[in-house]
């Protein structure tokens, strides 16, 4: 039995692979993991408490995600999340393609060629365009996130690049009478404009879109409009943790 764990800024995602290859996926708030399911060891590393997680003894653990270095799981093989996401994307596409992961805190792009990450880029130190930014904007606009993701037509022109100031810009536009669907589309489009230069670093048009952001239909629309052939795997938000398990396989092969 093998466990993959993707420690994100907000949520931890688990993938449990049983010996007969059945996969179970679930998540929990990251704070719960820290408070309830880790044993701190004297050497500063942590051990996963399988019992409190309701799990039987697991043979092999692979960890990825933003928190993988902080948590220092003593039992785990640690994998960079960019490589894990690329490995996850290789489950659905072969040859040469781009992997685009839009997560809670940042956006990552990797160029994959023949089962290998050739190059990658991560967005700069700025929350604008991240999943968290989109959540905030949905809240300001008073719509559920899924609804925000559905608007792409006639985007309002949003000029502020700072995630915090964008809030006041949106409120100002609402007061000017710009409609809610236009503003939602504007939020999506400005996010697309932020990630486009990251993609255009390479002349590749095949794209695997993963992470929670892959549920953003407006983003998919803009990508397709920009002539990207987009593939979205099933459960795209679990792509990283599944890729992490894939990497375990590779490691074992070598």
């Amino acid at each position: 039995m093998r466990l993959g764990i993707d420690i994100g800024s907000r949520k931890v995602k688990f993938a449990l692979q049983s010996d007969n290859n059945r996969m179970k996926l679930w998540d929990m708030p990251t704070t719960d993991l820290y408070h309830q399911h880790l044993h701190r060891k004297p050497d500063g590393t942590n051990e996963l408490d399988f019992h409190s997680l309701g799990l039987p003894q697991v043979d092999i653990v692979a960890a990825t995600g933003y928190g993988r270095n902080n948590v220092k799981l003593s039992q785990a093989l640690v994998v960079s999340e960019i490589l894990a996401h690329a490995a996850g994307a290789m489950r659905v596409l072969q040859g040469e393609f781009l992997m685009l992961d839009m997560g809670g805190q940042d956006t990552k792009v990797a160029l994959v060629r023949d089962g290998q990450v050739e190059d990658f880029s991560v967005n700069d130190k700025c929350a604008a365009g991240s999943g968290r930014y989109l959540e905030n904007m949905a809240q300001v606009l008073g719509v559920p996130l899924e609804e925000l993701f559905s608007y792409y037509a006639d985007p309002a022109d949003l000029t502020t690049t700072c995630a915090v100031y964008a809030e006041s810009e949106i409120i100002g536009k609402l007061a000017e009478g710009v409609t809610m669907p236009q503003l939602c589309a504007g939020v999506n489009y400005s996010t697309f404009l932020k990630i486009r230069p990251m993609l255009e670093r390479w002349p590749q048009k095949e794209l695997v879109f993963v992470g929670g952001g892959a549920k953003n239909k407006a983003m998919l629309h803009y990508l397709q409009q920009a002539h990207y052939a987009v593939v979205i795997p099933e459960a795209p938000e679990y792509n990283g943790v599944l890729g992490c398990l894939e990497m375990l396989d590779k490691e074992e092969e070598e």
Binding site: Y66, G67, N69, N70, V79, S80, E81, I82, L83, D106, Q116, V117, E118, D119, F120, V122, D124, K125, E254
Partner: protein, 341 residues
């Protein structure tokens, strides 16, 4: 000698023909080094912000500004062409009362005539002659020889750490104000005699301005990688031996054309068998623009890292480093496998 008293400390903002200051018996002090070797460099930066420098000013400028406010330095030679326009603005408009600013330019055209004129200007200021400067060049070249040996041991013998390599190179801007004492420090590095680093370690070239990360080298080593080439810091140490001072300062690449730097980088990358580059950029620094140029000109993989505050590597930067190292290792493994089969 002019009205300067021997042993007076003269601030410098970057590499200059420091031989002139030594010839005058004064003591050069690189303001960057005072700042970054302080016990609490970030406190110095915070102070500059408190004093009103905009937050979006680069950390190095903030550091130098605070240092100037608090030291006994009354004369600063600032490089006004061939280095940093931000520093020029700071020196021009914000210098504390009683501090004199002497501009020095590395002419962009690399003109002997203009550079000679610039150097003559500084010599006249200190009341020294070319011969005096050549004598101090001989004194400094003794130390440079050791620095270059340390550099060679870093990439060829693999017996010097990236940290020690950087220490030796970066302090060659001012020779720590005391070339003989600096020489003793360098000899300590030579005497360390460590086992060569494993051949499996990836070999990186670090491009760009000095970083503000305090744990970059040990972290890289823990991941199985080393920096065996510090582009800019190596240039500070004047790697091209030249008999005359003018020639030496013309072959120094950093202040002149970007393409001169690229040529130097390409040559060293081949010689040192580099696996990739880390291009370090400082937040709010104009050199960030060069990132695209490097990507267009250099064929090896490049990881761009940005730093702002002085301190340890943050999680996101570690993720980038981990990914870069793991990516290059697996590429290398594949190449070796393909070669074997």
């Amino acid at each position: 000698m002019s009205e300067k008293t021997a042993k007076e400390r003269i601030g410098i903002t970057s590499t200059i023909p420091v031989e002139i200051i030594y010839a005058s018996q004064c003591v050069p002090v690189d303001l960057n080094n005072i700042f970054i070797t302080d016990k609490h460099p970030q406190v110095i930066v915070d102070e500059a912000e408190r004093l009103g420098l905009p937050r979006n000013t680069c950390t190095w400028v903030k550091g130098m500004y605070s240092v100037l406010k608090h030291t006994d330095i009354h004369t600063v030679i600032g490089v006004v062409q061939g280095d940093c326009t931000h520093i020029v603005s700071m020196l021009e408009s914000l210098l504390p009362a009683g501090v004199e600013f002497i501009p020095f330019s590395f002419p962009y055209e690399k003109s002997r005539k203009l550079l000679r004129w610039e150097m003559q200007k500084i010599m006249d200021y200190f009341g020294v002659q070319w011969d005096d400067c050549l004598a101090s060049k001989a004194r400094l070249d003794e130390v440079r020889k050791i620095i270059h040996t340390i550099d060679r041991m870093t990439w060829e013998d693999n017996t010097v750490s990236s940290q020690d390599n950087f220490y030796a190179l970066i302090n060659s801007t001012d020779f720590m104000g005391n070339p003989e004492a600096f020489k003793i420090q360098l000899k300590r590095i030579l005497d360390k005699k460590r086992e060569p680093y494993p051949r499996s370690h990836l070999r990186f070239g670090l491009l760009g301005v000095p970083t503000v990360f305090t744990d970059l080298y040990p972290y890289l080593e823990s991941q199985g990688a080393r920096v065996v080439y510090h582009e800019v810091a190596r240039q500070f140490a004047m790697p091209e031996y030249a008999k005359d001072l003018l020639e030496q300062n013309l072959s120094y690449t950093y202040p002149y054309s970007f393409y001169g730097r690229v040529k130097d980088i390409q040559e060293e990358a081949g010689l040192r068998h580099l696996d990739g580059f880390i291009h370090y950029v400082q937040s709010f620094c104009h050199h960030q623009l060069e990132d695209l140029g490097f990507r267009e000109q250099l064929s090896l993989p490049i990881l761009t890292l940005e730093g702002d505050r002085v301190g340890k590597l943050d999680g996101r930067t570690k993720t980038r480093l981990d990914t870069f190292v793991q990516m290059l290792k697996s590429k290398k493994r594949r190449k070796e496998d393909a070669f074997r089969n």
